[in-house]
Structure formats: C-alpha cells, structure tokens
C-alpha cells in the first residue's frame, strides 16, 4: 500500500506544468488534490515516472462568468463548491452533487478538474457535469482548446488528453431560473463509489434536456429516449427506464439493469417535482 518510486516537480504556472509533463518520455501525471491519483498510486494501479504538482496554481483556482457559462478552475475543491464559495448558476445542483462526494476530508482536497481528468465511471462530476452540458478547457503543448465533456470521456479512466495536456477549467452552462434538475445516486454506504447515478437537467428555456446514466462500466451514457419523456413531462417508471436502456443497447447484468433503471426513474421524478 505504498506507491512505487516516482520523481516529483512543482509547477510554477500552467505553461511550466505543460513543459514539465512533456520533459521526459515516461508516464507523467499532473497532481491536483491527489484524492484519486493517490489511492491509485498507493495500490500501484498507477505508477507514474514523474508527478507534476499543479494544486496551488492561481490559474486553476480562478472562477469567472463568461456569457452563458460559469468557468470553474480545475483546482476548485468539492468542498468549495459544497460550501457555496463559487456562484450557484445551476439552481443548487452543483452544491448538491459536491456534498455527496466521498467524505468531507476528501472533499477538502479533491478537485473538480482532477475528478474529470481521472474519469472514474463511479465518480459524480463526469455524470453530473455531462447532464449540465459542460465543456472541458484544456491546455497543452499545442495550445488551448475546449472539448465538450460528451466527447472528452472516451471510456472508463480514458479521456481525450494528450500526455502533456492538463485540464484547466470546466465551462458549465448556466441554467435559466426555471430550469429543473434531478440527481439520484445509489451507494451501499454514503461516500462509497456509486453503484448507479442518474442525472437529469431540464432547461426548456435554453433548449437543453439531458438524462445521463453514470457508474456504468464505461463513460457516462446519454439516454435520449428518457430526455424526450422529460421534455414531454411524462412520468418514467422503473420498467420504462429499463426499456429505454434496452432499446439503445445498454444492457447490464440483472442487478445492473434494475439499479440503473431505479436511479434514472428517481432522478427524473426528482427533476419533474423540483
């Protein structure tokens, strides 16, 4: 339960971090809060050659509003979101989600950017932010770019980052005041990795309705048939959710089919009742 040996460097700014990450051919990783990378390294599932610390970089702690977006620096912690230290432009959804991530001692250090870059299927932000239609701001040797979250996470623990890229911010569309959301997570114990996550955002004014299933064995899954039901205001029972998943080829084992359908139908009920 101790990590393999690695080299360590502290980046002075984002450009320095990119330079350091590209300075050797090995497996180099940026370190934010380390609340996901730390366990992976302790379990030796990840054995980076070089770890580049980016946790304290000012640019990654910035929170700004740009047009219809709230731009949240990748280094903002879950606890900062839980405590309302950044503007609430998602009608309370971000705070609700943040407060359920792992445990307070983890939320105090773990970051939203780290969670997105790590892309654990059972983590909260990949599913919640996908439902909100968020985009990922990335900086790297070839310059800065923005990728929609739906194109960013490719599979479990697999994202569209090149070796020397870092996630700098999440661009999260603001919800209109009348927008509804629902979020339902099933864990065997509070704070544990989820068995299933249903996330719903319904913002007719902005033309955005998303129903997303998380904690699958891959990237979060859009369920367009259920989004259509939410737009129509139709109640979605467990069997309806099961049928919708089956119709798009999302088939799990018996337990998975049941629990995912329950999470989705409860998230939708929550959204429609909000």
């Amino acid at each position: 339960m101790k990590p393999a040996k690695f080299d360590y460097a502290r980046a002075g700014d984002v450009a320095d971090a990119i330079r350091l990450l590209g300075s050797t051919d090995g497996f180099n990783k940026p370190l934010g809060g380390g609340m996901s990378l730390g366990p992976m390294m302790n379990l030796r599932l990840a054995q980076p050659d070089l770890v580049v610390e980016v946790r304290k970089l000012d640019a990654l702690k910035a929170v700004t509003e740009e047009g219809g977006y709230l731009v949240v620096g990748a280094g903002i912690t879950h606890a900062e979101i839980e405590d309302g230290k950044i503007p609430d432009t998602a009608n309370g959804m971000m705070r609700f989600v943040a407060g359920q991530i792992a445990y307070r001692a983890v939320r105090n250090r773990g970051t939203v950017g780290g969670s997105i870059a790590h892309a654990d299927p059972a983590a909260d932000w990949p599913t919640a932010l996908r439902a909100l239609g968020a985009e990922v701001a990335i900086d790297g040797p070839d310059g800065a770019r923005v990728v929609p979250l739906s194109e960013f996470q490719l599979a479990a623990f697999t994202v569209a980052l090149e070796p020397a890229d870092i996630v700098t911010a999440l661009r999260i569309p603001k919800l209109s005041p009348g927008a509804k959301w629902g979020y339902y997570k099933i864990c065997r114990k509070p704070g544990e990795f989820a068995d299933s996550i249903g996330a719903v955002v319904h913002d007719p004014e902005r033309g955005r309705t998303n129903v997303v299933l998380g904690a699958t064995d891959g990237a979060p899954l859009d369920v367009p048939a259920l989004a259509e039901a939410v737009r129509a205001g139709t109640a979605v029972e467990i069997d309806d959710a099961k049928a919708a998943l089956a119709a798009q080829g999302a088939v799990f084992d018996d337990y998975g089919n049941q629990i995912h359908a329950v999470a989705l139908s409860r998230a939708i009920k929550g959204a429609l009742a909000s």
């Binding site: 339960m1 101790k2 990590p3 393999a4 040996k5 690695f6 080299d7 360590y8 502290r10 370190l31 380390g34 609340m35 730390g38 366990p39 390294m41 302790n42 379990l43 770890v51 610390e53 946790r55 606890a79 792992a102 445990y103 307070r104 001692a105 983890v106 105090n108 250090r109 114990k189 509070p190 704070g191």
Partner: protein, 155 residues
C-alpha cells in the same frame, strides 16, 4: 529527495523527503508523531485524518512533498484546543472508543462536525462519520459523545 518546509503543531519543520512518502508516514516515522494512525492507506477508513491548513484531510493519500508551506495539526497538536477537550471528555464518558485505533481520526472529524455543523442532529452526525470506520464500538458511543458536545456548546 525533495526539501520541504512546513509547520507541524505550531513548530517549524524543514526536512528532506522522498516524493513517495505519505504525509502520514512522514509525521509518524520522521517526526515521531505516532498518534496519526494508518488503516487502509487508500483514503477510505479515516484513521489517518489530520488537519492541513485548518481542514481535515487524509494523510495517507497526501504526499509529504505536497505539504511544503502547509500548516499541519496532528492529534498531538490539539492538547489545548477547547473543542477537543470537550470531545475527549465526552468520548470517555460515552464509551466512544475501545481499542482506540480509529480515535485520532474520529476526533479530528468530530471536531470538524462540531465547528462546521453546530446544528447537526444524529442523522447528520452519522452521515458525516461515514468516512471514519470503527470496528469496536458500533458507533453508538461515538455518536452520543459528539451529540453531547454539540448540545453543550449550543448551551
């Protein structure tokens, strides 16, 4: 090896550490502060919880090199803290510990609950304790102790 300067329980410390040394191993092995306990070493059990810059955090998945410039408070650093004094008394009176292995982490988490959530009820206390595992007490005494301190401080 990487040089770090930090404050531990109010005292300045400068040391040279291997990057892979966790903060928990650093305070235990190099600083002889063995009150911080290691259980799971992947952030789940809560035994290693201590304060970094005034907030409870996991020292088993935080590397010592990441704590350059930080202020660390281990369980040994709370001798004169009035909330911790109340908690120590309440843990004793309510059988909040048996073997004591989880207790340092429990107390750091309990202190955070008392300070951050002064109106917490039993349900909230239990929820907040979900990141600290105890295999002796069944949590009843721990929850009772924290509720007693909350009650006392609400006056």
């Amino acid at each position: 090896m990487t040089e770090i300067s930090l404050t531990i329980n109010g005292e300045p410390v400068t040391a040279s550490v291997e990057p892979r040394t966790s903060l928990a191993d650093f305070v235990r092995d190099s600083q002889r502060l063995t009150g911080t306990h290691l259980g799971c070493e992947h952030g789940v059990c809560g035994a290693c919880t201590l304060e970094i810059d005034g907030e409870p955090m996991r020292s088993c998945i935080t590397y010592a090199v990441s704590c350059d410039g930080a202020s660390i408070t281990t369980i040994e650093g709370f001798d004169d803290d009035d909330v911790m004094e109340d908690l120590r008394q309440a843990f004793t009176e309510n059988h909040g510990l048996q073997c004591g292995y989880c207790t340092p982490g429990m107390l750091v988490t309990a202190r955070d609950i008392v300070r951050r959530l002064p109106d917490a009820d039993e349900k909230r206390v239990r929820l907040e304790l979900s990141g600290n595992l105890c295999r002796c007490t069944g949590y009843v005494g721990i929850v009772r102790a924290i509720l007693a301190v909350l009650e006392k401080r609400r006056g």
